[in-house]
């Protein structure tokens, strides 16, 4: 693990250490909480053959949408692609392998890895095609499906505030998968809008304690282009 005193990096150095073909968790639900600056730097850095784990595929032209469009993503583990037609096209054309999990199971598989567990037992999806092929055991007279934990080499997360030890605070609905992923990967790279000295974050407001975080990068605020778009729902 990185020493507390050595976590602050510049963004190019942070993403350059990610290996080709890595499995990478990416925070965010739609735009809020997506680490846009880290993803843009990863695109620039050039690694391919990636497996990404993210709730969704962002929208065309932003976030992981850009990495998918550039052909850098081999496999995507996700819950929903509904807002990204270019990702759906890549999937349908066979250029992108997609593994779907129901959203709550995806979150829990990541949470389990972060908690150091091998998996969990669930009744979600029983009697539907989601549960086909899933191992079952009986406990207390009921059948339960076994869901293994989901691990990754790297997590890219977005926080509102960080200190240079790597303590993190998320804001509003930009939390979503970030605190779960920040505990679940071998290397955790956090971007934050504001980087403070240790002691400046209120200690009872810290969502992710610094022990889980490997590197911290200060970034500019996301552009309005990286906001959500009208969907006419």
């Amino acid at each position: 693990m990185t020493l507390l005193t050595e976590k602050v990096r510049d963004i190019e150095a942070a993403v350059a250490a990610i290996p080709e073909g890595a499995t990478i968790m990416v925070g965010g639900f739609g735009s809020p909480g997506t680490p846009f600056a880290l993803l843009d730097a990863l695109l620039e850095s050039g690694q391919g053959g990636l497996t990404l784990i993210k709730n969704d595929a962002n929208e065309p032209g932003i976030g992981i949408g850009r990495l998918i469009e550039a052909g850098r993503v081999k496999r995507l583990i996700t819950s929903h692609l509904g807002l990204n037609r270019t990702a759906i096209e890549a999937m349908n054309a066979g250029r992108l392998e997609v593994i779907f999990h129901p959203q709550g199971l995806l979150a829990e598989k990541i949470r389990c890895a972060g908690a150091g567990h091998g998996g969990f037992l669930t009744d979600i999806g029983q009697g539907t095609e989601i549960a086909e092929g899933r191992r079952e055991i009986e406990l207390d007279g009921r059948p339960w499906g076994i869901e293994p934990a989901l691990h990754a080499d790297v997590a890219l997360v977005h926080a509102e505030r960080a200190d240079r030890y790597g303590n993190l605070i998320y804001r509003a609905t930009a939390s979503n998968f970030n605190p779960l992923m920040a505990m679940a990967a071998e290397q955790v790279i956090a971007q934050a809008y504001r980087l403070d000295a240790p002691g400046e974050l209120p200690i009872d407001a810290i969502h992710t304690p610094c022990a889980f975080v490997s590197q911290v990068v200060q970034v500019d605020r996301a552009t309005s282009e990286q906001g959500v778009r009208p969907h006419g729902l």
Partner: protein, 217 residues
């Protein structure tokens, strides 16, 4: 068509009891948001991690960190909280959400629901629909009674892959309000001016109709 949608939403708003925690599915149910009066003490849950959503008012600047699960900028009402995705789904799986409204491709006489996949045509992933359908205490389906070709969506038995089985309590369409009962679909209300025989003709599932007790909407 617009008036059909408005009638579904106005009827659906009567399902919400003050004091409840309510989730609004993506699509038509999201629009129910605007039928819940500000002063009504209801907390709207959105599975991306917020309890206590409120629609943004005209002229209110968007907060780029504040969306609902459909991807619309929202704001919050007094008593609201925000949390991560694991907590959000724990709330759902522990049935701490009282009521959810969802759209449907198909719904059947046994309360089975199909609303996420049309094999070969539409498969963007299930999102949070499966956990919501299976675990929320009361699920009310809001949908058109027939698809755009006029085919029934209220079936004897769903043919598409299920979201969850036996999960639906009530179905509200432009033509009728129907309850899922052990004896089959019981018509609670029928659309103003619609003949029960025409309702049966537009529905694949057998309907239990007691004209003396049936309301109009």
């Amino acid at each position: 068509m617009a008036s059909d949608t408005q009638r579904i939403l106005a009827r659906a708003a009567r399902e919400v009891i003050p004091g409840q925690i309510v989730n609004l599915g993506i699509g038509l149910p999201t629009r129910l948001f605007h039928y819940l009066p500000d002063e009504m003490e209801v907390l709207v849950h959105s599975e991306n991690g917020v309890l206590g959503c409120r629609p943004r008012r005209d002229g209110e600047a968007p907060d780029h960190d504040m969306i609902d699960s459909g991807g619309a900028y929202i704001t919050t009402r007094p008593g609201a909280s925000v949390f991560d995705s694991a907590t959000s789904f724990a709330m759902i799986r522990r049935s701490r959400v009282d009521l959810t409204f969802m759209g449907a491709f198909e719904v059947d006489a046994d309360g089975n629901l199909a609303n996420w996949k049309i094999p070969g045509k539409f498969s963007p992933g299930i999102g949070g629909a499966m956990e919501l359908a299976q675990k929320v205490r009361r699920l009310v389906v809001l949908c058109s009674h027939n698809d755009k070709h006029g085919n029934p969506k209220i079936l004897a038995r769903c043919r598409l892959p299920l979201t969850a089985s036996g999960c639906v309590s009530r179905i509200i369409t432009d033509k009728a309000v129907m309850d899922v009962t052990p004896a089959g679909l019981a018509v609670v209300d029928i659309a103003e001016g619609l003949d029960p025989a025409d309702l049966r003709a537009a529905t694949e599932a057998p309907l239990l109709i007691d004209e003396s007790r049936m309301g109009r909407f």
